[in-house]
Symmetry: C2
Subunit: 317 residues, 2 copies
Amino acid sequence: MAKNTSSSEGRIEDAARAGWLYYVAQNTQDEIAKKMGVSRQSAQRLVSLAMTEGLVKIRLDHPVARCMDLARAMKKKYGLETCEVTLTDPTSDDPALGVAQVAAAEMERVLIRKEPVIMALGTGREIRAAVDDIPNMHCPQHRIVSLVGSLAPDGSANDNDPLNKIGDVIHAPRHPLSVPVIASTTEERRVIGSQKPIRRNFELAQKADVAFVGIGELNDSPPLLTDGFINWEELKELQALGAVGEIVGWSFDAQGKLVDCRINDRVSSVELTTLSSVPAIGVAKGANKLVAIKAALAGKWLSGLITDEATAEMLLR
Amino acid sequence: MAKNTSSSEGRIEDAARAGWLYYVAQNTQDEIAKKMGVSRQSAQRLVSLAMTEGLVKIRLDHPVARCMDLARAMKKKYGLETCEVTLTDPTSDDPALGVAQVAAAEMERVLIRKEPVIMALGTGREIRAAVDDIPNMHCPQHRIVSLVGSLAPDGSANDNDPLNKIGDVIHAPRHPLSVPVIASTTEERRVIGSQKPIRRNFELAQKADVAFVGIGELNDSPPLLTDGFINWEELKELQALGAVGEIVGWSFDAQGKLVDCRINDRVSSVELTTLSSVPAIGVAKGANKLVAIKAALAGKWLSGLITDEATAEMLLR
DNA sequence: CAATTAATTGATCATTTGCCCAACTAAGAT
DNA sequence: ATCTTAGTTGGGCAAATGATCAATTAATTG
């Protein structure tokens, strides 16, 4: 057996080998250790590495009837084009668990197409986790466009941007939006919106074949606040105006109507109204996001929803 | 939590739930037991059931460089359209381990297409195992056609036929070939070939967009013999004539030339020569199949090959 | 070349998992 | 009603696994 003393490249390869032997060939870690000429512990580390590096993807292929029933009911009640409901782990507080895997499968289904498609991506931990779950593909024919600025308030690029990650794994050209999520003033927002490359990005987004967006809740510690895009006073102002949720930065009230305020005037993301022609799939679950999801549905901002059992039940009540 | 006291339907659903909690949500079996209100052992059984029922599919997503190198070399040396090389487990004697998963992924890639395709299937444990690994899909637009008879020598239908299985899981119309693999006489073979429905099946197979075939070796206990299609004398005759391998029942020699003999005159499968217009993907690995694979490649019967590391290395020597 | 630091290894142990077996339960047969 | 039988349950145990930690090795710097 070839030796791979070190080199981080070879390490991943060894992890792939070990992971394969473990998950596909059902070897025990002792056997893997023997075959690969390493200690039992090293074998275990390699297997574990294969998992944490996302080399092994596990999917569960069963239409759990309950979930399908819920999905059907959701489609009917909210007039959704598509709806997917995954199982709920009642003790986990991971906001993306389950929905991320389903969203990833859905994205894969889109990306596997031969004809070029434009896929738009919004914000949220769920979207990021979904992207992390997409296997390596080769689809240079597609274009991935961001619906939302990728710059932090201090002007630094967000290296956690799902756009970069997906571009890497599927080898497709990406179209980032290199502006802050929320401009510091209305005037800056206007200037941003008038720039040529930004305009072109917006136009591309409008032509997107599908968009995947997270749904943010506007409770007392929304990502918008913790990421420093708005301050405490602005959050309170939004809440006072009835805002309960946001999609790509645009805040709306319980009826789904965009709130008319200073903050929404500074949002530099693609406008939700111009996205009406794009099928947008919302990805969100959890009791704390319930009102936000409800509002997004009421506002007809979504044509599809990926959520979980418990959330679907609450939404149907 | 809803109770599913028994009913085999609900049991599978419970298995799916348990499998999801285990593999996706990373729960321990104790936690699953608590959440589902069963004992730890029952939870273990459900998880294990989810696995044996094929509800969970594990795939390893990493281009192990060595395999890719081998695949490239294979394509070059044998003029193959496509070649996929999977890892080798040197201690496993499962003839399908690894190649089945890769073949399944390849089939899935074909079946996921929107436009209707015709997929032809040959024989072999590898093909059967690959089909078992395909997830549930909904593709009524495609047609699956068998290249080879599905009747045992005693006239009974082979319920292990990959055609039926794949038809079930992907919900596509199937076109079985309800004849024995090898007719008892040349005359019977002629009669079979003249029947309308059989002729139509043959024509469909000729129009197939892709064919997946196993490669049989003609050592001293080939499937053809153990399944009772030929007897010991006939096997010896084939071997005397230089036959080293077979594809869908047609035996060929080391140069890949069909051997001219009484047995080949009775094979009722679709003729290999008429398949020349169809891209045929061979699925086979292992030292004992080496000469057969070499012969099949020499005879240019294949446009693609799915094999494993060790076999590829031997083929390249 | 020595010395400091970072990374990797293998021994050890607690937890988790797979499996066997005896006890129990439910359904059907006598 | 009793017996039989098939199937399910949970206890117990051995194997497998994941994690910690001290020891060793490799790498880097002065």
